[in-house]
Subunit: 340 residues, 4 copies
C-alpha cells in the first residue's frame, strides 16, 4: 500500500484524501492543516492523522490532537500531495526535495514548480517516475479532457474558448463580484491557453477568461476548428465513450450548474461532486468549412472543486509507477464511481 501524505486540507486536499482512501492500492498517511476550523473537525471525524502545517498551539487550544508537524508527515509518506493555496506549494518544495519525497502540486502553482504538467487522459506517461508533477488547474483539466479525443480522432486546427468562471467557491464568502461580469484577465489569450500548451505543446489555442457572480461551476463556450468534418452524432459518440466526460441528454431538463449539481447530490455522490466534464448534448454542433475542415461547438460545465481529484489520484500512480495510464484511470474511476 502506497502511503500518501496530503499537505493542505481545504477544498482540494480533503477531496483528494477521501479519493486516495477509496483506492485499493494506496492509503492516507495523514493530512496537514493550519487552523482548527470545521475542516479540522472533518479530518478528525474521518480518522485521518492530523499534522500541523505551522503551529500546533491553535489545535491543542481547541482541544484537537495533532500527530506532529508537517515535516514528519512528509517523512512518513511515499508521495506527498501539496494542496496548499496557490504559491505556497512552491515554498514547500524545498522540504519535499530535502526529504526526497516525490510531490504532486496543484494548478495554482507556476508550471515551473515541476518538470511535468499532468492530465491523465493526455500525457500520463510523461509523469511516470518523475520526481514531481503538477496537476493542471480545473479549467485546463476540463479543456484537456475534451481536446485529447478530438485531436486524436480528427486533428484540431485551432481552439477558441471562452471560459466563464465562477467568482469563488461556495464557502469563499469574501470573493466577488456580486453583480458584474468581468473580463478576467482583460488581455487575450488568458493564461489558460499557455497552460493548456503545457499539456499539448503543439496545439493552436486562444482563450478568453471571464468571471461572474456564481459559485457552483465554470462554464466553457468552446469552438474547435477540426481538420475533418464529422457529424454532430459522431462527435457525440466519441465524447460519450470517454470515461471522464458526461454528455447530458436534453431530456433530463438540466439547464445549468444548479440542476446539474442537484442531480449529482440526488444521486448520492459524496459532496455532490462532479468529477467529469458535463457537456450539453444539445450544444454539440458541427458546421462544415472549406477544405474538409469543420467548426465544432459545445458548452461544458466544470466542477472546479472536483474535476482535478481523480487526476491527482492518477498522478500519484504515475509518479510511483503503480500502473500504466489506462489501468490507473480505470481503477480510479471504478473506486470513485466516475461515469455512472
Amino acid at each position: 500500500m502506497l502511503r500518501v501524505g496530503i499537505n493542505g486540507f481545504g477544498t482540494i486536499g480533503k477531496r483528494v484524501a477521501d479519493a486516495v482512501r477509496a483506492q485499493p492500492d494506496m492509503t492516507v498517511a495523514g493530512v496537514a492543516k493550519r487552523t482548527p476550523d470545521y475542516e479540522a473537525e472533518i479530518a478528525r471525524d474521518r480518522g485521518y492523522s492530523l499534522f500541523a502545517a505551522a503551529e500546533t498551539t491553535p489545535f491543542t487550544a481547541a482541544g484537537i490532537d495533532v500527530a506532529g508537524q508537517v515535516r514528519q508527515l512528509v517523512a512518513a509518506s511515499d508521495v506527498v500531495v501539496d494542496a496548499t493555496p496557490a504559491g505556497v506549494g512552491e515554498r514547500n518544495r524545498a522540504l519535499y526535495e530535502e526529504l526526497e519525497t516525490p510531490a504532486i502540486y496543484q494548478g495554482g502553482e507556476d508550471a515551473s514548480v515541476a518538470p511535468v504538467s499532468f492530465n491523465a487522459r493526455a500525457n500520463y506517461d510523461e509523469a511516470v517516475g518523475a520526481d514531481a508533477v503538477r496537476v493542471v488547474s480545473c479549467n485546463t483539466t476540463g479543456l484537456s479532457r475534451v481536446l485529447a479525443p478530438l485531436e486524436e480522432r480528427y486533428g484540431i486546427e485551432k481552439v477558441r474558448a471562452t471560459l466563464v468562471r465562477r467568482g469563488g467557491d461556495p464557502s469563499q464568502t469574501g470573493r466577488g463580484p456580486i453583480n458584474d461580469t468581468l473580463p478576467d484577465p482583460v488581455s487575450i489569450p488568458s493564461h489558460h491557453a499557455p497552460d493548456v500548451k503545457t499539456v499539448f505543446p503543439e496545439l493552436s489555442i486562444d482563450t478568453m477568461g471571464m468571471k461572474v457572480p456564481a459559485t457552483l461551476m465554470h462554464t466553457h463556450a468552446i469552438n474547435l476548428t477540426l481538420r475533418a468534418t464529422p457529424t454532430a452524432e459522431d462527435v457525440r459518440d466519441l465524447l460519450t465513450a470517454e470515461g471522464r466526460l458526461l454528455v447530458i441528454p436534453e431530456r433530463l431538463g438540466i439547464d445549468g450548474a444548479g440542476k446539474l449539481k442537484e442531480y449529482t447530490r440526488d444521486a448520492g455522490r459524496p459532496r455532490g461532486d462532479v468529477w467529469e466534464n458535463c457537456i450539453w448534448a444539445e450544444s454539440l454542433t458541427v458546421e462544415p468549412l472549406s477544405d474538409g475542415r469543420a467548426d465544432c461547438y459545445l458548452f461544458q460545465a466544470i466542477h472546479q472543486e472536483a474535476d482535478v481529484v481523480p487526476e491527482n489520484v492518477d498522478a500519484i500512480r504515475a509518479i510511483a509507477g503503480l500502473a500504466d495510464g489506462p489501468e490507473s484511470v480505470e481503477r480510479t474511476n471504478e473506486a470513485l464511481g466516475i461515469g455512472c
Copy 2:
C-alpha cells in the same frame, strides 16, 4: 410496515421518500411525478415505483416505465404525503378524501387544507389520529423549534423576528432577485406570524419578511422578550439539549450558509442536508429588562429544502398512530442521523 405514498417528487418529495425509506417502521409505496426529467431518473435509480401524476405518455416516450396513475398509488397507500407545488395539494384533497387515505400536506397550502398544522416539537399530539395534517412551512418549522423550549422554560412575552429568505432554491434558475433586497411582503406582520400562531395560538409574535439573492438557506434575526432573565449560557444549554437545534460553536469558523453546507456535505450527509436549525452560539445574547424580563437575541440559518423532512416523517407516525411524539422524534432522528 406502514405503506407511504408520495405525490410530488420534487425538492421536498424526494427527500421525504428517502427519509421514509430510512425508517424501520414504514416503506415507500411509490412516488408520483408529472415530468420525465432528472428527478424521474433519480426515482428509478432509487427503485421507487413511479406513478404518473398526470399523463403517462411523456414517461413512456422517454423510455421510463410507470407503475400506473397517482390514483392507484393513493389507493395502495396507508398514508399519502402530498409534496406537490403550493396550492396543488388543495386540489388533490378530494382524491385523498374519496379514497379515505389520510394525507399530509406541506406549508405551501393554506392552513385550512387540514384540521391540524403540525410541528413535532410543539404539538405532535394534536395530529394523532387526524384525517389530515399540514406540516408547517420551512420558516415556521424553524421558528417553532426554537420557540417551544424557550416558551416552556421561561415564557415568551413577545417575539419579533426578521426572516431574510433565499430568493429561490439552487435549482430554481427562473427566480430572482439578482441584485436586490426586497421587503417581502412589504406589509407587517408578514404571513409567517399568523402561520406560527397555527402552532402556538397564544403567542405574541410579529415577523418581517425579506427576500435576497441567495439560494442556500434562510437566515432569521430573532428577538424574544422573555418573562425571565436567564444567562446566555443558560439559553445555550437549553437549546443545545434540543435534538433538532444545532448550536454552532465559534471555533468552527462558520460565517454563513456557504460554510455551513460545506460542513454538512463534508460530513457525508445525503445531499448535504441540514435538517436542524443552525444557531450561531456567538449570537446568543441576553439583555435584562425591567420586571425580571429580558431581551434574548439570536441568529439562525434554516435549510429550507430539508428542515421539514423529519417533521413529515413524524407527522406520518402521528396520523397513523405508530408512536407518541418523543418516541417518533427519537426514531426519526436516529434513522436520519440528525443531531450528530
Copy 3:
C-alpha cells in the same frame, strides 16, 4: 417638427422619449402606458402627454390625468415608436397600419414584423421611406456596430462570438438566475447569429448565448477571422474613430460593468446611460493566420437599456426621410452627447 408618438413607456420607451425630445427636428407627441406606477410619475414630471395603452380607469383612480387612448396618440403622430414588451408590437401592428402611421418596432419582435431590420451604422439607407422598421436588439446592435467597420476595412471571413448576457435589468426583480451560469439557448448558434444576418445577410457568424446573475450590461467575447492582418494598433485606431464605439484605455482602471457605469454616472449622463459599445483597449488582439488572414479578439460591454436608443432616433429620421445616414447619426450623437 416631426411628431413622434411612443407606445410603451418602460425601459426602452422612456429613454427613446427623452432622446426624441433632445433632437432639434422632432418632438414627442405623447407616450402610452398601461399602469400608473412610478414610470407614469416620470412621464408626468417630464410633461409628456400620457395616453392609456389599455384602460384609463387605473390612471384616474390614481389621480393621474390621461390625454386619451393610444389610438388617438397614433393618429396624432407622424411616426410611432412601439416599445411595448416583446411580442406585443406584432399585436399593435394592425392599429398602426390602419391609421397609416409608419412604425418603428424593437428587437423583441420577430424580424417579420417589418420589411427592414435596422442598424444606423450598417444599413440606414434600407430604412429610408419604409413603412415599418425594426431596430435590432441590444446584442445585435452591439455586434453590428463593431462588425461594420471591420468588414468594410478588412473583410471578415467568420465571426465566433460568446454573448454573456445579464439575467435581467436592474428593476426586474422577478428574473434570475441567482447563482448560476446558463447556456441560453443551449443550442448553437443562438438566435443572435441569424439576427445579425438580417443586417449583414452575407456574413458568416456563429454565436453562443449565456445568461448570468448580473444586471448592468451584457459582455461579449468576440473572435473575428479577418481577411487581412492589421496590427492591434490599426484595429484600435479604426474602432476609436467610430462615433458609437468607446475604446476604454487601460489607465482608467475599469474592470467591468460596475466601474464603467460608475464612470458614466459620474460624468453626468442621464440615467448613467452608455449608448456606445465599450471595448477594452487592452483586449484588442490580432494573431496572424495562414494566407494573410488573422484572428482578431476583443471584449466589449453593451448597456442593454441604452444602446438601441440612438438607433431608434436614426430609424425615425430614416423612415421619415429627414436626413441621410451620416447626417442623422451626427445629429443624434450631438444632441445626446454620444462619444464624449
Copy 4:
C-alpha cells in the same frame, strides 16, 4: 465663500465635492487623490484642482496635471473633508491639526477621531465651532434621521433593528459574498447600536447586522417600542414632514432598491443618488402594547453612497459657524434638490 478641501475623491469624496460646489456659501478649494484612474478623469472634467494624496508621478505619467500635494490643499482650505478609506482619516489627523484646519471625518473612522459624532437632524448644535467632527456612517445616519422625530414626538422605550447591508458598492468588484447571507457581525448588538448612541446617548437600542449579495442599498427592518400609541397614519404624517425622509406610496409599485434607484435615475438626479431614507408607506405599522405603549415597525432603504453627503455639507456649516441647524439643512436640501 468658505473654501472646502476634500481629501479622498472616491465614492463619498466625489459626491461631497459636487454637493459643496452646489451650495451658495462655499466653494471647492481642491480635491486630493492617490491614483490617476477614471475618478481622476472626473475630477479634471469637473474642473476641480487636483492634488496628489501621495506621489505625483503616477499622475504626470498618465498626463494628468496636479496642482500640488495634499498638504498645500489643506493649507489653502478653511475646512477639510476627509473622505479617505476607513482608518486613513485617523492617520491624516496630525496634518490637519498641524495646519490648524478644522476637519470633517467619515463614519469609517473610530468615534474617538473627533469630539463630536454628527447628524444634522439630531445634534447639529454640538458641532458648532468644534475643531473636528465625524459624520456618522450611512447606517447610523439612516437610523438617526428616523429616530429623532419619533423620540421627540412619542418617546422611544427601545429600538430593535436588523440591518441587512449590501456586500459592496456597485464598483467594488472584489467584495462578496456571491451567494450567501452572513450574520455580520455574528455578535449582538452589532457595532451600529453603540454608534447610534454617539448621537443619542440615552437611547436603548439593539442592532443585528447582516451582509447579503446586493450592491444598491442597505435595507433596515426596524422595530420601535414607543411610549405612546399613535395610529399608523400619525406616524406616516410625522415622517412625511421630515425633509430627509421619503415615504414611498404603495401606488408607485416600487418593490426594492432596483426600482427605487431606477426612479431617481429617471427623475434626473445626479448619479441617481438617493440622499433620503426611503420608507415603505405600506410597512408602517403600529401595534398597541400595555401601558399606552406601542410597537411600531417599518422597512427603510438607505443609499449608502449618498445619504451622508448632505450631512457632510451641514457639518461644514456647523464647524465653520455659517448657519444654525434648520437654516443649514434647508439650504442644503434646496441646493441639492432633496425631498422632491
